[in-house]
Symmetry: C2
């Protein structure tokens, strides 16, 4: 068998052209390289070099050998990286969600049920989440439509209903309910990390005028200080009741402004996540 260090030295020589240059590059002495190259020839049993008195160069055999060497060196490096990556993926549970709210309820359960695991979470739209799940990058996902794929198992995990908090000064605040299309042309303050809600509003409101805010705290301050209409949901309302006194909270009447969430994983991991699924089911019974 040819040890890796020999292939490294061969590759170095091929790259540098002379033993002395390669020796420097590899932090070795010239003699060490001379010997290694001899040894390679001995192991393979074939001449790899043309030797002039003062010049060593690869012959056809040697060039082929260097080519193979590069391949093996690459794979030898990859083995380390791949296993590290595999180990990392074994230690992390990656979860993607179409909205931030259901994450907040489920992540604590994961933390509790799978101690020691790193949890990697993000919000994105359904199609991209599904794609990443198919590619095996995700362990869990939360969608707002029941997944149909045979290779997936899922469980309902609550829902969310959209409201708009309208300043009392706005004429629309007198309505008992509003359709998204009624919000045509008015400026609305929007927190940017709200997942699929953004797409929904953008599509259903004619000529939407959103004031996007990336930072959650700033968003909260703005919502409090300004007199702009703000989207909210039953989840947020149950947490911040006291702040809604200056605004009238009006439900959005559109059918798809009331959603159910579904937690799903690939069938292969059904067993692994059974405890989680059971817990979620109990929470929503």
């Amino acid at each position: 068998m040819i040890e890796i260090y020999l292939l490294e030295q061969l590759e170095g020589f091929d790259r540098c052209g002379t033993l002395s240059a390669a020796a420097e590059e590899l932090h070795l002495s010239q003699p060490a390289l001379t010997r290694s190259m001899k040894k390679l020839e001995e192991i393979i049993g074939v001449e790899l070099f043309t030797r002039q008195k003062n010049r060593l160069s690869l012959n056809e055999n040697g060039k082929l050998a260097a080519e193979y060497a590069r391949r093996i060196l690459k794979e030898d490096k990859e083995i380390v990286e791949r296993i590290r990556a595999f180990d990392r993926s074994r230690r992390t549970i990656s979860i993607g969600s179409c909205a931030p709210v259901p994450l907040e309820k489920i992540v604590p359960s994961i933390t509790m049920l799978y101690p020691g695991m790193t949890i990697s979470q993000f919000v994105d739209d359904d199609t991209r989440i599904l794609k990443r799940m198919e590619e095996g990058e995700l362990n869990l996902m939360i969608l707002h439509e029941e997944p149909k794929d045979d290779g997936l198992v899922h469980v309902p995990c609550g829902g969310e209903k959209l409201y708009i908090a309208m300043p009392k000064t706005n004429p629309l605040s007198r309505h008992e309910g509003l359709w998204l299309k009624d919000l045509e042309g008015i400026s609305i303050l929007l927190f940017s990390q709200i997942g699929f809600w953004y797409e929904l509003c953008r599509q259903k409101i004619p000529h939407p005028r959103f004031l996007m805010q990336d930072d959650f705290n700033t968003f909260g301050e703005l919502a409090y200080a300004s007199s702009l209409p703000v989207f909210t949901t039953d989840h947020w309302l149950s947490m911040n009741e006291e702040r809604s006194n200056e605004r009238i909270v009006i439900p959005i009447l559109d059918e798809d402004a009331t959603v159910s969430y579904y937690l799903a994983c690939r069938s292969e991991e059904k067993k692994r996540f059974q405890p989680l699924f059971r817990r979620i089911e109990e929470q929503h019974r």
Copy 2:
């Protein structure tokens, strides 16, 4: 970098299941293996084993590592074999011919012009020879039709004409010339290693009755001793004139019973075989 010997030991352990079994298999001591496995874990920086007090086994990481190890070991073995094979092929000139006669003229030239090279020759039909040339297994080939392929260079190298040596007792022996179709139904003695000639005769003679003989010497004896008609060519006639006294030698009149031979090589090797081609050209001027 992970040295090959570590991968070998990992693979051995995976195959044998216990350190002690693997140690025996690999002609090593248990402690040596223990240390190597520890070292592997250290290099990769990831746990590869589950350690019970009295039992060591691969975990998921380790199984993956063993899989990679096998791949690299395979390639590391192959590098030696491949280079040896490549070196061999560099030292041999492989030539295929559609008939034995032109080989006899060309091979001596090759021997003389390319001293030290092993010459590997064989007779087969044109299509198979062309195929092997395309696959890069051949350096030279002799066909009886001018090659059309752009990637080939060629030179005419003589020709051959078919005769039949007919016993004087046979009524056909009175003809000045014969067509192959005239030989319908009569038994003819045939040497098996005559390349394309066999196919030609088989196709042009209705209901052919060939007595095949594999061994050249036996064939010669049979031809001499029996009173069977025998195929021959101008080449053989010029060598064995004295033996033809008991038979009448009659030329075959079919157009394709007179052939021209072409020596060809791939264009990449044009330069290499230029001396040979020139010599052949001179011989047939």
